[in-house]
Symmetry: C2
Subunit: 339 residues, 2 copies
DNA sequence: CTGTTAGCGCGTTCAG
DNA sequence: CTGAACGCGCTAACAG
């Protein structure tokens, strides 16, 4: 391995001068700079980031922990964060926690050991233990997409409650009254907020939602399928389903098919999170779409501000609006199911 | 920050002993080990991975460069690689090159600076310049999913030629004769191999494919749409389309819809790469499915072998079979289009 | 079984 | 404008 002192020797200067040339820090005369640059090129010198980081106590690395790398919502978030980090000369470490708090904690410990400068965290649960670990080490954190119980943390997320509220209003206005909610885990804020939005829409309309129509499970298609089969098999099945994320919606669509329900004729389905156009030969679902890429961007920007502004600015909470896109999966209820 | 010498002082031993306890290397008596562990717990000591890596010259980190993080094929590869790396105590750095050689080179330079122990590379192009950079630094590489021109490199990929061959045989056996290929970039081996498979199927059947039916573009839905619109507008349009990846297929489906072609009645569509079940309310496309997760696993295993086996074993090339799954998007051609 | 010595490759500090 | 000395936190290589 070629080190800075090899370059120094070759250029007939001290290592310090080489360091100054590489980092454009301090003054160097044009001729020596040139000699150094020649030597660097000639030897093919590449600085060792590890040594640099050890010395300077900054790793120029952020980490992003997401809960499902196969979900395009999160990959969009990742791209947003990656682009911003890259523009500021920071590397970004992706970690996939699979909705598991254990994995999350494992990753966080690893990241602390690796001295990452900051963490973007989609927490697997409301009461994230990893927040405590990070705080103990004074590692700046921005929570993304979901809330946590811990106070005084920066958060960047979409308006779950509002999006759900609008989707349900849409269904109510079409005449639906029995609307099922297929949700994720009770320990995740987005699930809670979306169910809350559902409830508010009902209450404001002077209606009382049937508690039995609210099901909790998980964020995958298989779970969506199970939950949908459950509600569709009820004595008084719902005329509409609100899937709390995109994968659950896919499961619900599959269940509708196996139960012989046509969408939207026999059953309306609406969901949170749009699918990327890459997927959709034919966009079909009525959704509340979140600006995923922007979520990632804003979160990374906020984190970088915290790092640079040496600051104890108070925690900020950024809530990005959600856009309801009405498509063909929602329509008026079939006769006899409305009331 | 609490360092190893704080722990040593607290436990009344040397730093070396602490190091041995932490790393379970060398001998330590039970009582001193206990004292050290107490001190570690008491002080909340966390080893600094940077310092450790600098000293030991191994970062215990691999990197995976993929060309499109939004494509579930690659995220599956990523999970496979991640799981294997994690099991062996290695971290995995994800990098998204967006099919850009420039970005690829930027990332590779960054990774070299960061002293990663090995790289899993989905090359943006056949003649990957980054291979040279990596080799110059003697960084072990396993090429994934695609071939490169450079010789003597480990490769793990799916059988593109064979999969394409089978898909086309399937279409030929249904009676199709005018089959369009919507491909990616000419500089990518998977595109080349899949087109080659297409050609072989024709040649073996004693037929000559129309060169004008082979279109090159890119791997995204938008490009698939454009290419499909192109062939569907021909004077003698194809009765079937072979999309070289899943996103192109989505674009082709969209194009079929805007052109008013029903699939499979008026137009058959087959594609490479399946979509994950999370996506598919209703699996519809006839595809050649690659074992993406396993691709990632095998690649990571091979890389780790190279790292551990101190070895100049000759380069291996692992080609995993591809499975053709016939679904509803392919059927016999409409009357009058067959011949 | 444990401690000492000597760096890994860099950048900070303070003299020149 | 440049260099010498030092140390970041840790572990390899030796003693003992």
């Amino acid at each position: 391995m070629i080190t800075i002192s090899d370059v120094a020797r070759h250029a007939g200067v001290s290592t310090m001068t080489v360091s100054r040339v590489i980092n454009r820090s301090g003054y160097t005369s044009a001729p020596t700079r040139l000699r150094v640059e020649r030597a660097v090129a000639h030897l093919g010198y590449v600085p060792n980031a590890l040594a640099r980081q050890l010395r300077s106590k900054r790793s120029k690395t952020l980490a992003l922990l997401i809960t499902d790398i196969t979900n395009p919502f999160f990959t969009s978030v990742a791209r947003g964060a990656e682009d911003v980090a890259g523009d500021h000369g920071f590397g970004l470490l992706f970690c996939n926690t699979d909705e598991s708090e254990e994995k999350e904690i494992e990753y966080v410990s690893m990241l602390i050991q690796r001295q990452v400068d900051g963490v973007l965290l989609v927490p697997a649960s409301l009461s994230s233990r990893s927040m405590g670990l990070l705080r103990a080490r004074a590692v700046p954190v921005v929570v993304v997409d979901r809330r946590v119980r811990a106070a005084g943390v920066d958060v960047v997320r979409g308006d779950s409650e509002g999006g759900a509220y609008q989707l349900i209003r849409h269904l109510l206005s079409l005449g639906h009254r029995r609307i099922a909610v297929l949700a994720g885990a009770r320990s995740v804020s987005t699930t809670l907020d979306r169910v809350a939005g559902y409830r508010r829409a009902f209450v404001e309309a002077g209606l009382k939602p049937d508690r039995d129509l609210v099901r909790y499970g998980g964020y995958h298609a298989a779970e969506g399928y199970e939950m949908a089969m459950g509600v569709l098999a009820m004595r008084r099945p719902p005329s509409a389903i609100f899937a709390v994320n995109n994968f659950i919606a896919a499961g619900a669509l599959a269940a509708a098919r196996t139960m012989g329900r046509r969408v939207p004729d026999d059953l309306s389905i609406v969901a949170f999170d749009d699918l990327p156009t890459n997927w959709l030969a034919d966009p079909f679902l009525t959704v509340a779409a979140q600006p995923a890429y922007e979520l990632g961007q804003r979160a990374a920007e906020l984190l970088l501000e915290r790092l640079e502004g040496d600051g104890k600015r108070r925690a900020r909470s950024i809530v990005l609006p959600t856009e309801v896109i009405v498509r063909r999966s929602s329509g008026p209820p079939a006769r006899g199911l409305a009331a």
